[in-house]
Each structure stands twice: as C-alpha cells, then as structure tokens.
C-alpha cells in the first residue's frame, strides 16, 4: 500500500478546507504524523506498490520521501502557532493546499513512470502557487505570477524532453513501458543523440523548478513572499523533488554510458548557480531573500556533487538531507523574526541576541550550519564533495567551488551579524514562543545527530541510491 502516502494527505487536504481552522490545524499535524509513520513503514519495506506500473520504491525516491515527510511534520507543528499570530482569512486554503502539496511531493518521490513523474512535478506547481499567494498583497501576486509563468514554461520544456526520450527509445526499435526501471534495462540500446537532447530539455525544465541558475529568477521572489512555513516547505522539500527529476535523467544517461556528458552539464549548472548566488547575496537587503539565494547555492552544490561522481555523489546526497533540515529550520526562525519586527528588511531588524534569545540561537546555529561549520552535517557533505572533486582531478572546478562558498559566507555573515547584534530601538510586535522555536531546534538537532551517527538503514539507502550513477564511498 505504497500509494497511501499519496492518498492520505490528498483526502485530508480535500476535507480540511471545510473544517473550522482550529480543528484543521490539528488534523494537519495528525496527517503529518501518519504520513511520517507510513513513510517509515515504506522504508523498511512493509508496503509494496499496488500499481507497480506507475509507482515503485527506489532508494533515491525513498530518501527524498523521508526528508519531505520528516520536515513536513515539524513545519506543521510550527504552522499552527504561526497562523494564530498572523490571522489570515484564507487559512483553510493554506491548510488544504499544504496537505495537497505534501501529497503531490510524495507522488514525485514514488513515481517510476516518465510521464507520471512529470505530472507529479506539474502538480506540485499547482498546489504550491496558492501558498505563495496567501497574503494577497501586490507583491505576493507578482511573486505568484512569476512562479507560475516561469515554472509552467520550464515544465512544458521538460515534457518535450520526455518526448525526446521516447523518440530515442523508438529509434532503438525496442518497446518497453515508459518506466525508469525498464528503461534502465535497455539503456544501452537507446539512441544516444536524442537521449542527450532529451536530457538537456529535462535539466532545463526540472532545473527551473529546482532553482538552478540562470532559470532561478522566480525563486527569491516566491520564497520571500510566501508565509514562512510555506517557504520552509518550498525550500526544504520542493527543490529536492525537482532535483529528483534531474537525478533520474542523469541516472538514465549514466546507464546508457553517457554519464560524463550529463555530469559535465550538471557541474556547469551547479557552479553557475553558486556564483550567481554569491554575487546576489552580497548586497541583499531582505533576510528571506538571502535565505532563498542560499537555497539556490545549495541546489548548485548538490548538482555539482552529483555531476562530479564518485565520493562527491555521496557528499551530495548527505548535503541534500542536511540542507533540507537546516534550511527549513532557518525559514521557520525567519518567520519568528518577521513576526517580531514586522519587516523583511535586514535594516529594520537588529539586536536579536537580546530581544529574541531563543530564536537567535536557532537562527545563528542554523546560519553556522548552512555555512558549513561543524557540528552540523553540511560541514561533512561539503568536505566530501571537495575531496571528491580533487580525487577526480577536477582541480579548477573544485577551486571555484571553494571560492564561491567563501564569498557566500562573507556576504551572508554581514547580514546575519547586522540582524543579531545591530542596534534596534523600537517596540517589538510579537514575543517569541517555545512552540515556535522548538521545531527549529528539533530540525537542527536532527542534523547534528545524523552528523555523528548515521543509521545503517539510511546509509544503505544512500549507497544504493548513488550506486546507480556510479557514486560510492570508495571514490
């Protein structure tokens, strides 16, 4: 009953819109918990798929499902309290769309069929657009328009990529179902030219959704205008799902013996994203935009790591987990800051260390974590990626990678210092509450725990996920 992970949030999301808000918040948390438990059942292999034509459990899909489900649960706890303070009239819409969004992301993680994957990624756009438009302001409208327009065009191009992959199968003369698992078996017979062309369209299409530069322009707007719990989910879960689309394409090319071609494309997109993030983070005025650019950077890091291959792929998968944990925790803290100061601009905040000590700890620790300081997991993953890059003899790429990391740290730390220790002499609007900082702490602690102790089952999942693109712990 693998499909239950898709159906349960779908049903709950449909029903929740008609319930009173108070009850709805509880249902959302309960659904999050049920989803998490189901995901764990799926992970230990207790739930075979019913429609194996379209869905299956793959290690990389499981990994992303686990991360999504885990952070959703904590975001749901936070969202209840956050929404109480904001008092939006459209809150039932938020609760419903949030669950539908979870459902569509689970579908992405479990999809095995080329077109089902595409439909699921399209569905995530549909479900998340109302989340961005929740505040109904002019700016929210602008962000939503950009998001829908740019991502729709991107996804349409990805569909073209799917057609080209079908074409490459036609030309090879073989007829199998359009699932990734069966395409993998005949990968070597596929026509290489059209497979390559298909991959280029796929990476442009899904890369738009993933936030790879230069198709990233919707991302800072959408992430800064959405309410903070929604931004946390967009950044921590949605980007991973889009990455899965790119990853499956890369897998197919690797199995067809064209891994070097797709790897090089991934490396260039990754480095470009990091450089663009480094430039734009430097003179940023809003802290949520800063976090959004940091997401672009981290997606770049993941694409880079996967492109390099070998040890770096292992690093990239670790990075995916830790980025989701830390970044969603940061966005939740940013929600507290926004509630407290009432502005998204860095210059209208300050003295956080005194005024909001609990949020300050979460935000500062999260910032240290995302910049790659121990004891958080990003440290390990980035070191592994750098080691992998030099092992493979990619000295230039590795050097650019390190330089971009340094620039981003320098740019972001200026803003974080201003927010934490700068002067602020106005009234604060909303006091912080334990219920709104504990989810951030929990996410950060998970990152810390996974850094010192990685469960064997998770380790196995990562290893089998990266084995399909030629990655491994031994280089």
């Amino acid at each position: 009953m693998l499909e239950l992970t898709i159906l349960i949030p779908l049903l709950a999301g449909g029903v929740i819109m008609f319930f009173p808000v108070q009850l709805g918040r509880k249902i959302m948390i309960a659904t999050g918990l049920i989803h998490l438990l189901l995901t764990l059942t799926v992970t230990i292999g207790g739930a075979p798929p019913c429609i194996s034509k379209y869905f299956s459990t793959t290690p990389e899909g499981l990994l992303i499902l686990l991360v999504t489900s885990f952070i959703f649960f904590f975001i749901a706890i936070y969202a209840g309290s956050y929404m109480q303070e904001v008092e939006l009239s459209s809150e039932p819409l938020y609760l419903g769309c949030n669950l539908l969004f979870l459902s569509s992301m689970s579908m992405v993680a479990l999809a095995d069929h080329l077109v089902v994957l595409w439909i699921a990624i399209e569905a995530t756009t549909l479900m998340s657009a109302p989340l961005i438009f929740l505040h109904r302001s002019k700016k929210a409208l602008e962000a939503t328009w950009k998001y829908v327009m740019i991502c729709s065009v991107g996804i349409a191009l990805a569909l073209l990529g799917c057609f080209l992959i079908v074409l490459s199968m036609d030309l090879s003369g073989s007829h199998v179902p359009l699932t990734f698992s069966s395409l993998a078996q005949i990968a070597e017979q596929l026509d290489p030219t059209w497979l390559k062309a298909g991959f280029i369209f796929l990476i442009i299409g899904y890369g738009t959704k993933m936030g790879l530069a230069p198709m990233h322009t919707w991302l800072p707007d959408a992430h800064s205008e959405a309410p903070s719990p929604a931004s946390a989910l967009l950044s921590g879960a949605l980007l991973n799902c889009a990455f899965l689309g790119v990853y499956r394409g890369h897998q197919l090319l690797y199995q067809a013996g064209l891994g070097e071609f797709s790897g090089n494309i991934l490396i260039s997109f990754g480095l470009l994203s990091m450089l663009i993030a480094a430039i734009f983070i430097f003179d940023q005025t809003g802290y949520k935009r800063m976090l959004a650019y940091s997401s672009i950077e981290n997606m770049g890091i993941i694409a880079f790591g996967v492109g390099i291959g070998g040890l770096a792929t292992y690093g990239a998968m670790l990075h995916l987990i830790h980025h989701s944990l830390i970044k969603s925790s940061l966005f939740l803290s940013a929600g507290n800051i926004l509630l407290g100061y009432g502005s998204k601009l860095v210059e209208k905040t300050g003295d956080m260390a005194k005024l909001f000590p609990k949020t300050f700890i979460a935000f500062f620790a999260g910032f240290a974590g995302i910049s790659g300081f121990p004891p958080f997991g990003v440290f390990i993953s980035e070191v592994l990626i750098i080691m992998g890059a030099f092992q493979q003899g990619r000295t230039l790429a590795g050097t650019i990678f390190i330089l971009a990391l340094i620039f981003i740290f320098a740019g972001a730390s200026r803003l974080v210092m201003r927010m934490s220790f700068g002067t602020f002499n106005k009234e604060i609007l909303v006091e912080e509450k334990w219920i709104r900082v504990l989810p951030s702490y929990a996410l950060l602690c998970t990152s810390f725990i996974l850094c010192v102790w990685l469960p064997d089952s998770l380790y196995e999942i990562i290893l089998s996920a990266i084995a399909t693109v030629g990655g491994g712990i031994n280089g």
Binding site: I119, A129, E142, W145, V148, A156, D170, H175, P220, D283
Partner: protein, 234 residues
C-alpha cells in the same frame, strides 16, 4: 488525406503569423481559438491516414476532449478575462508588431533548417512540414510570451507554446503504443495552467488596473538607492 493535413498545417502557420502581428486583444483570442481547433484536428487526420479510417473509441474520446478544451473552454475563459478589463489593445509591446511578424518569418526559416538538418534521418518526408509547423509554433509562442507586457497576451503565448509541443509530441511519439501520453500530458498541462493563471489574472486585474505585467516590478534584489551602480556613480 495528405493534402488535408498540409492545408491544416499551412493554416496553423498563418495563424502564428497573424497572432504575432495583431494588436487587438479580441482578434488575438479569435486567432487562438482558430489555431486551437486546427491543431487538435491535425493528429486526427494523421491517424486517418495511417489506419485508413479505423480509429479506436479511445482516440475519438481523447480528440473530442482536446477539441472541447482548446476550441471552447479556453477561448471562453479568455473572453471572460478580457471582459473584465477595460483595455482592448496591447499598447507598447516590448517588441513592435512589424518586428514580431518579421521574427515569425525568421522562425519558419529556422525551423525549416532544424527539421532538415536534424530530423531528416528519422522521419520520412511526409512529416517534415508537420515538424516545421510544430517548431515554429513553439518558438513563436515563447517569443510572444517574452515580448508582450499584458498578462493575457502572455497566457496566449503560453497556450501557443503548448500547441507547438502538442504538435511536436504527436509527430515524434506517434509511432509508439504510448500515444495517449502526449495528449494526456498536454491536456493536463493546459488545464492546470489555465486554472492557476485564471485566478492570478483575475487578481492582477483587481489589484492593478489593466493586467499589465510591466507593473509587476516591485520585487528587486537590490535597493535602488543602494545598488552598486549608484554607489559607483557616487
């Protein structure tokens, strides 16, 4: 039947050129309706040609749905959206109408080159015109999307792009048993986009006057007073 297909394709190309040159929103929507109907008929004629009139029930259903959505639902939605705005013309496009028409001609040339250069090997000659039309429609749609400021024209550009993808899909993936993939994908895509864009369009309309996406420029990365450029200027 080949003659019929080719006539339809020529009409599609004509509608592409017309839409690039039209400045009145009403006539633009009428052209899109026309194009939508033509484009959903083309794969039907192709099927006829291949199977000599034997078309399965599933195919008929899909084509009917396609025709209803492209020929009735979408135009209806666009007219509804247009009714709410006072604006009747696209004023100040980013790229002018004559230049746009010229660009359209250039796209035809370019797609002829692409079809000739890359696809010649894999397709027998009868589908070359189909391919040219598909690539032209696709690129002209993208062009319309980026060269116009009105939200509704951008949606039309998106729809035109989808038409192109649908044509391309039915040319390339036609031979396989997975043919519903194309139709289903495109239908879903269009429905989704129309729903979302409809809601947003409605809101742009009530928040701003006149659905001009040129007004949607308040989100920046840099504070204009503090930007590097201003600093350099002193």
């Amino acid at each position: 039947m080949i003659q019929l297909t080719n006539t339809l394709l020529a009409l599609t190309l004509l509608s592409v050129l017309l839409s690039l040159g039209s400045d009145r929103l009403v006539s633009l929507i009428k052209i899109m309706t026309f194009q939508g109907i033509i484009v959903s008929l083309i794969p039907l004629t192709l099927l006829f040609q291949e199977h000599h009139g034997e078309i399965g029930a599933g195919n008929v259903l899909i084509f009917q749905a396609m025709l209803i959505i492209k020929g009735i639902l979408i135009p209806w939605f666009l007219f509804m959206a247009l009714k709410k705005v006072k604006m009747r013309r696209e004023i100040e496009p980013i790229i002018g109408y004559h230049a746009s028409t010229f660009a359209g001609l250039f796209f035809i040339l370019m797609s002829t080159f692409i079809a000739d250069r890359f696809f010649q090997i894999i397709l027998n000659n009868e589908h070359v015109l189909l391919l040219i039309t598909a690539i032209t429609t696709l690129s002209a749609g993208l062009f319309l999307l980026i060269s116009r400021k009105k939200a509704i024209t951008q949606v039309i550009g998106y729809l035109m792009m989808e038409n192109g993808i649908y044509l391309l899909g039915s040319t390339l993936a036609k031979q396989t048993h997975t043919q519903y993939v194309v139709e289903f994908g495109v239908l879903l895509d269009i429905l989704v986009a129309i729903m979302i864009m409809g809601i947003v369009l409605h809101n742009i309309n009530s928040t701003y006057d006149g659905m001009d996406t040129g007004d949607l420029d308040s989100l920046h990365d840099l504070d204009s007073n503090r930007s590097l450029f201003h600093r350099l200027k002193g």
